[in-house]
């Protein structure tokens, strides 16, 4: 449809041109695969004469000899060819993004790149499928300027990247996702083969139309439509091998026991353990571990990670699609299948469930466009999705099933990582038992637990994997969009009307079955095993199930106006939209409605002026405060259209643009209806375990043996009748240039943002004497500013084709006003620092002796310090080191700078592209402590000892079980620099020569190898630096086994095949 509009303009333009000219004919092909290109616009430079190529790639145009023809086509670089003496031309266009006539999808419409005054980046579907990932969010990483991302987990079905557009201006930083013109909750689960292009809207001008939802930027995904031409069948299949990018290095039993022994010696030496403390290992034990001669029951040496996980696993993806169309009907029909396996070994379980998590997805899409009458088109976008996520339930018994999947695996991984090699025995030969005798051995010898050595809650991880049960969840979605477009030229030339209706239905369901398993205690003297906990219930408990779903409707209706009057070009979009999204459970649905207006004007494609605005509202606010006005203005000046620029030959194009506007953001961390003041009736009942009565509990009186639980009424929500949305004032200035015959393009954007009226509670700033939590109010303020630079270079020379895309983005945010006590010490204030800035103790050296400890300010951090512990700065100089001495250390938990560079080279059918992507000015507090379970890691060998007093890379050894380790709190010594450069993506492809294929009636065959996250260069130790970015900025060092980042991020090696019939 977009093409039609665009063609329409060109065609009408062509009638106005008349001169004495030659008739030029020719054919246009793609430079890569020689396919004939249909719909390429061909125009005579400097005139308005233009035509488009037909389905055989042929064109026919009148042009003067010596004039220049400009060929432009979506997704290809513009090409200019001088008209010579001949009347026939064979033109090859190479793929690229520099085309100024490219039609870009923007909010509620489309716009040619050269007409844009807003900051918008696009990425084509072709680039997206280069990344063999299951979640399309990962394909954007490193390819779009202004986009920050973090992929924190590798769990199948839950491994998408968090995306922040232009960094973070508020703690609520999720971008708005629009798919085919309609808001959706995400796009990661769309089959990447269905995606035509993604636009990232970044500034006020492009996002103002989304008003109350737009302030964090907008990601617009457009799916593929049919193209006029004969039916094409395209199949692509991918087979991937998946591995973890980085794993912590566990020590073998001897080395781990050696460190534990040293740790215990330190504690004894400094009187930190009670009298009579017996070390866990005797020198003979250590010797036995060293010689590996011990009884494996008494002297295990198990790398639990290796024991339970496999080095690699598979992922497969298939897509089959049909595309084609006539003047009347165009279609794109696609079916996709994805299967992603998980890292755990497949153990035979007594109750028959699988022990490895998996993700299975079926995608279906049917995009149809009908030309009903000369003036009427109807488009239909119908998509369906069936997703299944399966996992062993691991160690999470509460919460909804989706959280149990995530948390359960996290709990399982945390048990695995926590257990030192000497901790528990494991006999792989007893696993997958085939005889009752073996089953008996498996159930006892592989189920040992040891609270004494490893601390509480150290369940046997093999038991958790094999007997704790499983959880499976299904997610089904139907998403449909109907668009009716009616030209209304008979009313007013250039006017058309458009109605969009979207209807989405989501159903999710799931099942969990848990089992219990016994823990055995080992008597070291007799080697007898006795049950210490639980029992085996190999028949899993009765399943728990859930089913939930909601429906979403969206209606948009409006008018488009498109008029050219001499040198004046005017367009306008005016529409109203409303959306109703059901909520899961008994909550009220989400609703929003409003009107949007865009007016653009340009003079001779030289001076551009644009107004965007919306007046919209949401159900989330009080009646009087529901609607807001969000206006933006923008302008552009194509300098190269000026006469005085014509002499600068190398510069083909230069535009300066700027925008300014006000946008809102209304979704505050899931808390709704903050204006309502509410009381609740009822109350919980005290658990029988005791402890302080929880607040809002039923009041208990009467005979304790026959209690009266009296319901209570409590003030459950303090309402603020004036609550409103976050607001953002955004400014943007951009420079775009194309030069050297459009081979090089450079775009630069400078932006800043003031985010204010941020909704915050007054938890930290209101005195407690108030007696309850004060309602949220709009008082927070943040600022964000930065720049983006993007450079594109593409060159075609004979059979060679090469170029690169490079980009760098810098965004720095600052908290201007937030929920902090008025007189908080300056070193503790977040104000003035970035959102997510780490704060901790400043390391100033190691305590070298007891004498030094005694002479230093008194440490109140954790337990008593001993020589070799980290010495911290007494920031406030009060002679005591405590939490008041913490200062900003390192950076924030998301990067300040990201960059990507993607060079590519092609020769005939071969093509290679390599994407390097990196980030810096980012910190992570994940470190390797034993978390109470006595695990030790490789890097601890560089510990402080009296013999290594100055260059130690780790504080003095203490046992994991003494906790409260003063050195294991967030501090500048242990905080890691999480900057990295990744070989994010690589693709080698080969297009089979046409001549070979013609005989078997295959249009094209492309085989490729690609990979994702293949290599990481970083100073970060132990885990993938993205994986390790903690979501908690607390005072403790992030535990390695925190569920948030426990499932390693993966690298993917993929081979694929693409066939077109």
């Amino acid at each position: 449809m977009n093409n039609c509009l665009f063609c329409f303009c060109l065609l009408s333009a062509s009638f106005s041109a008349f001169s004495q000219q030659n008739r030029i004919t020719g054919k246009i092909r793609s430079a890569e695969d020689s396919t004939l290109l249909n719909g390429v616009s061909v125009s005579v430079k400097g005139t308005r004469v233009g035509v488009t190529s037909d389905k055989d790639g042929a064109f026919n145009i009148n042009a003067k000899g010596g004039s220049t023809l400009v060929f432009s086509y979506i997704g290809y670089n513009d090409r200019e060819v001088k008209v010579g003496s001949g009347n026939y031309m064979s033109v090859r266009l190479s793929a690229g993004n520099n085309n100024l006539n490219t039609v870009v999808v923007i909010g509620y419409g489309t716009q040619k790149k050269k007409e844009q005054t807003a900051a918008i980046s696009t990425i084509s579907g072709k680039d997206i499928v280069k990344s063999p990932v299951s979640d399309a969010t990962n394909s954007l990483v490193g390819r779009v300027p202004g986009l920050f991302s973090q992929q924190r987990s590798g769990l199948p079905g839950d491994n998408g990247a968090d995306i922040f557009i232009r960094g973070r201006a508020s703690t609520n930083s999720a971008a708005l996702i629009i798919v085919d013109g309609v808001e959706r909750q995400g796009f990661g689960d769309i089959d990447p083969n269905e995606i035509e292009a993604i636009s990232i809207l970044k500034d006020a001008s492009s996002t103002a139309l989304f008003g109350i939802k737009g302030a964090n930027g907008v990601i617009i995904v457009t799916t593929k439509g049919g193209k006029v031409g004969k039916a094409k069948v395209s199949y692509s299949g991918n087979l991937s091998q998946v591995r973890s990018t980085e794993l912590p290095q566990f020590l073998d039993a001897y080395r781990s026991a050696f460190l534990h022994n040293e740790a215990e010696e330190n504690l004894i030496k400094y009187n930190l353990v009670p009298p009579g403390y017996k070390k866990l290992f005797t020198p003979e034990d250590l010797e036995t571990f060293k010689n590996k001669t011990g009884d494996p029951l008494l002297y295990p040496d198990i790398n639990w990670y290796k024991a339970l996980t496999r080095p690699s696993w598979n992922k497969t993806q298939h897509n089959l699609n049909f595309t084609g169309g006539s003047r009347m009907t165009k279609y794109f029909v696609s079916v996709g299948y994805l299967f992603e396996d998980g890292m755990f070994k497949e153990f035979k379980t007594p109750s028959g469930y699988k022990t490895t998590p998996t993700y299975t997805r079926y995608n279906f899409r049917s995009n149809l466009d009908f030309t009903i009458t000369k003036t009427t088109t109807l488009s239909l976008r119908l998509a369906g999705r069936l997703e299944n996520r399966y996992s062993p339930v691991g160690n999470q018994t509460q919460g909804n099933l989706f959280n149990r999947q995530r948390g359960g695996i996290g709990g399982l991984v945390s048990r695995i990582t926590a257990i030192p090699a000497w901790g528990l025995p494991f006999f792989p030969e007893y696993t997958n038992p085939t005889t009752p005798e073996m089953k008996q051995l498996d159930e006892t010898y592989n189920q040992v637990e040891d609270i004494g050595k490893l601390g509480v809650n150290t369940f046997n991880p093999y038991g958790l994997l094999k007997r704790a049960g499983y959880v499976t969840t299904d997610n089904n979605a139907i998403e449909s969009v109907f668009v009716l477009d009616q030209k209304l030229d008979q009313l007013l030339k250039g006017l058309s009307a458009k109605v969009t209706f979207a209807y989405d239905a989501y159903i999710s369901g799931g099942r969990v079955q848990t089992g219990s398993f016994a823990g055995y205690e080992l008597n070291r003297a007799t080697k007898a095993l006795t049950v210490s906990r639980g029992s085996f219930e190999d028949a899993l408990n009765a399943p728990g199930t859930f089913r939930s779903g909601y429906i979403k409707t969206n209606l948009q209706a409006g008018l488009n106006y498109n008029k050219q009057m001499g040198d004046h070009n005017i367009t306008a979009v005016f529409l109203g939209q409303r959306e109703l999204r059901g909520a899961e459970g008994a909550q009220a649905p989400f609703a929003n409605e409003g009107v949007v207006l865009r007016m653009t004007y340009n003079y001779k494609s030289k001076y551009f002026f644009e107004i965007n605005g919306s007046y919209n509202g949401s159900e989330n606010y009080p009646k009087t405060e529901r609607y807001g006005l969000f206006p933006a203005v923008s302008g552009g000046w194509t300098v190269t259209e000026e006469k005085f620029m014509k002499n600068i030959r190398f510069l083909n194009y230069m535009k300066i643009r700027g925008s300014y506007g006000l946008i809102g953001y209304g979704n505050v961390g899931g808390t709704r209806f903050l204006f309502l003041d509410e009381y609740s009736n009822g109350g919980g009942t005290t658990g029988t375990g005791g402890g302080l009565t929880p607040i809002n509990n039923q009041a208990q009186f009467g005979n304790p043996l026959s209690l009266n639980n009296n319901p209570v009424v409590w003030h459950s929500k303090a309402g603020n009748p004036l609550v409103t949305w976050e607001k953002s004032i955004k400014r943007n200035i951009g420079f775009e240039t194309n030069s050297f015959n459009n081979r090089l393009s450079v775009n630069v954007d400078l932006f800043d943002e003031k985010r204010y009226d941020i909704l915050l509670p007054k938890n930290n700033s209101a005195p407690a004497v108030y007696g309850e939590t004060q309602p949220f109010s709009n008082y927070g303020e943040n600022s964000n500013k930065g720049y983006e630079v993007e450079v594109n270079y593409h060159e075609t020379k004979g059979n060679w084709k090469y170029g690169f895309n490079a980009q760098i983005t810098h965004a720095e945010n600052k908290v201007v006003r937030t929920d902090e006590p008025l007189n908080l010490a300056a070193n503790l204030k977040n104000t003035g620092y970035a959102i997510g800035q780490f704060r901790g103790y400043q390391f100033i050296g190691f305590y070298q002796s007891l004498d030094e400890i005694n002479k230093s300010p008194q440490s109140r951090v954790g337990t008593q310090v001993i020589p070799g512990d980290l010495k911290y700065q007494d920031t406030n100089g009060d002679g005591i080191i405590d939490d008041q001495d913490r200062v900003a250390i390192g950076n924030a938990d998301i990067p300040q700078n990201v960059f990507g560079i993607e060079p590519n080279v092609g020769w005939k059918g071969f093509n290679v592209s390599v994407l390097l992507q990196g980030a810096n000015n980012v910190s992570a507090n994940v470190q390797f402590d034993g978390n109470g379970r006595n695990q030790y890691y490789e890097q601890m060998f560089d510990r402080w000892t009296p013999d290594n007093p100055l260059n130690a890379k780790w504080p003095v050894m203490r046992t994991g079980s003494t906790g409260g380790n003063p050195s294991y709190v967030t501090n500048s010594f242990l905080l890691q620099n999480a900057a990295y450069v990744k070989l994010r993506n690589i693709e080698l492809s080969y297009m089979l020569p046409k001549v070979l294929l013609k005989k078997i009636r295959i249009e094209s065959v492309r085989i490729y190898f690609n990979g994702q996250n293949l290599k990481t260069w970083t100073k970060f130790v132990g885990l993938d630096p993205e994986n390790a970015i903690s979501s908690s900025l607390g005072t403790d060092v992030g535990f390695l086994n925190n569920p948030v980042f426990s499932y390693p991020v993966t690298k993917i090696y993929n081979v694929g095949l693409n066939i077109q019939f």
Binding site: I451, G452, Q486, G691, N764, A768, G771, L822, L824, G964
Partner: protein, 572 residues
């Protein structure tokens, strides 16, 4: 017009006409508003009942709901993991009272003001609720006043003078308020208590059934002898009555008369406290439960003045995760009585262990002790849950490598009814007692001794306590100082693990005892028996106490929030 144009116009029409229906009015159905609550006497009285939820009503409460007692701040016990990953005790014992994780400081401060708000909102609405004959607004008012006194008492006991509020502040009100003085706070509490007492002692009303109902008596119906012919209100057992009001007043007056708040030792203050105790004694409502060891496990008792009513506990929470160690099937045995506490138990002949002629044998230290020793403690070689406790090096019950087992070689029996072991589901009552008669007696004796010296009444009431425990009377002829020492010792033993010791030591300004080296017992198994050695615990378990800690600091955040108006306590 063509069909599509008609369709378009029709659609626009539909959108425009549907706009009237308040498309954005989606907030959840019918929320209960303030007006709903206070125009409905049932809802209003439920709102009043919610104010009970802010009491400090269980033993373990410093962390994760059920871990950490105040006894672990002083000489009564330590937390085996005090220094480990559970900082809920070490934060106090190492003097980090300003740390935001110090729940007994910042947590209690916040919780008490939440309770006070609930009370104040209720009091301000009393007149607007259309009460019926099923409610008695005066009784609700009396309970609210009692709770407010209790919350302010918890504050004044910790912080001294605090911000006094008799109305719930509104959003627009300035809440950066200066603290009231200690005296103003005490007077404020006294006034509330007087008013509450007046209502409780006089309020009598007739139920719709015609029954005459006197809450002060009838709410204690479970303890009435003989039981009433017609039940009136046993379902209200556990609500405060005159006894509760008076017991709270007595605690306040004891605090006010003690060295911490009465440095000059003014006898009048002590006499006031003694009088307050005597009123309760003279009411003849209460008596001592004969069996000391079953003190916490009664559904009702004449000794209970007010308890937290709570059903039988199952094995979980405070029991399995705080009291019972892995060796007995629990997860963590974090409450470890100290040797210092053990040494306070006299021999059953009434002599202290270090007294000549006591008969104490350091190599058989658990023999012939005050019977309360056997009720309160679990020690080496005790037969417990059908087996012998092995506290010796290498014994099942002493595993010092594990963070969650005893460091002192004792566990607390008072809070560990014997039926609780791993794998069982049985439960019994283990009541948290707000006030019991035993405390009134020892308060009386203490106050009387301070006011008038060791007169016979002092002996009478201390001996009542000792007699119940199975101990001989105090020797006669004690000086006032000796008597004070005996009463202090008696309280430590009698109220062990009942959340009283720490507050006693603070009001007595007994830094020596709090700071004293914390000892453990070293037990070694020999061929013939055991050897016992008292040893100091590692520095980790020792107390870092300075005099400023007698009065807690206002939470640092509260000072930081204030624009210089809220002043910190001296020394902090």
């Amino acid at each position: 017009m063509t069909f599509p144009i008609k369709l378009f116009i029709f659609t626009i029409f539909v959108i425009l006409t549907s706009c009237k229906k308040e498309f954005l009015q989606r907030d959840p159905g019918a929320p209960i508003t303030s007006d709903n609550v206070f125009s409905d006497p049932v809802l209003a009285s439920r709102f009043a009942d919610n104010a009970f939820n802010y009491t400090l009503d269980d033993f373990g409460r410093m962390s994760q709901g059920y871990k950490g007692t105040t006894g672990q701040f002083c000489d009564e016990a330590i937390a085996s993991a005090a220094a480990d990953s559970y900082p809920f005790v070490s934060v106090i014992t190492t003097g980090k009272l300003l740390d935001p994780t110090a729940t007994d400081v910042a947590g209690v401060y916040t919780r008490m003001y939440q309770g006070i708000r609930n009370v104040n909102v209720m009091l301000s609405k009393m007149d607007s609720v259309p009460w019926t004959s099923l409610q008695n607004p005066n009784l609700i008012k009396a309970q609210m006043l009692f709770l407010r006194s209790m919350y302010y008492f918890e504050l004044v006991k910790r912080f001294g003078g605090v911000v006094l509020l008799d109305k719930a502040p509104g959003l627009a009100d300035n809440i950066d308020l200066p603290r009231n003085t200690y005296d103003e706070t005490v007077n404020f509490i006294m006034k509330d208590l007087d008013e509450a007492e007046k209502i409780f002692t006089t309020e009598v009303f007739t139920l719709p059934s015609g029954l005459v109902y006197s809450p002060d008596v009838d709410w204690n119906e479970l303890t009435l002898v003989p039981p009433p012919a017609q039940a009136k209100s046993s379902s209200n057992y556990g609500r405060p009555t005159t006894g509760g009001v008076r017991a709270l007043r007595l605690r306040l007056l004891m605090l006010d008369a003690s060295p911490l708040r009465n440095p000059a030792g003014t006898a009048a203050k002590w006499r006031k406290a003694a009088d307050a105790a005597k009123v309760i004694i003279n009411s003849n409502r209460y008596s001592l439960l004969p069996n000391y060891s079953a003190l916490l496990n009664q559904s009702s008792s004449f000794e209970y003045i007010m308890i937290k009513v709570r059903g039988p506990r199952s094995f979980g929470g405070i029991l399995s995760d705080f009291i019972v160690p892995p060796s007995s099937g629990g997860a963590q045995g974090l409450l470890n009585p100290t040797q210092n506490h053990v040494d306070l138990y006299e021999m059953n002949n009434g002599k202290a262990i270090n007294e000549p002629g006591s008969g104490y044998n350091p190599q058989d230290p658990y023999k012939n002790r005050d019977p309360r020793f056997y009720s309160n403690l679990i020690y080496n070689d005790l037969t417990w849950q059908t087996r012998k406790i092995q506290m010796y090096d290498g014994g099942t019950d002493y595993q010092p490598a594990a963070a969650s087992t005893t460091r002192t070689r004792y566990y607390c029996r008072k809070l560990w009814p014997e039926i609780y072991k791993g794998g069982t589901t049985q439960g019994v009552l283990m009541n948290f007692i707000f006030f019991r008669y035993g405390e009134v007696l020892l308060n009386y004796a203490e106050a009387l001794n301070e006011a008038d010296g060791p007169i016979s009444d002092v002996y009478t009431y201390v001996n009542q306590i000792r007699k119940r425990a199975g101990m001989p009377d105090l020797p006669t002829g004690l000086t006032k100082d000796q008597m004070r020492a005996r009463i202090h010792n008696e309280r430590a033993v009698e109220f062990a693990f009942e959340e009283i010791r720490w507050w006693d030591l603070l009001r007595w300004k007994d830094a020596e005892t709090i700071k004293a080296t914390v000892n453990a017992m070293n037990v070694v198994k020999t061929a013939t028996g055991f050897t016992y050695n008292v040893v100091p615990l590692p520095a980790l378990y020792q107390r870092d106490f300075t005099p400023r800690m007698f009065i807690y600091p206002i939470p640092r955040a509260e000072i930081d929030k204030s624009n210089g108006i809220m002043k910190q306590n001296d020394g902090w």
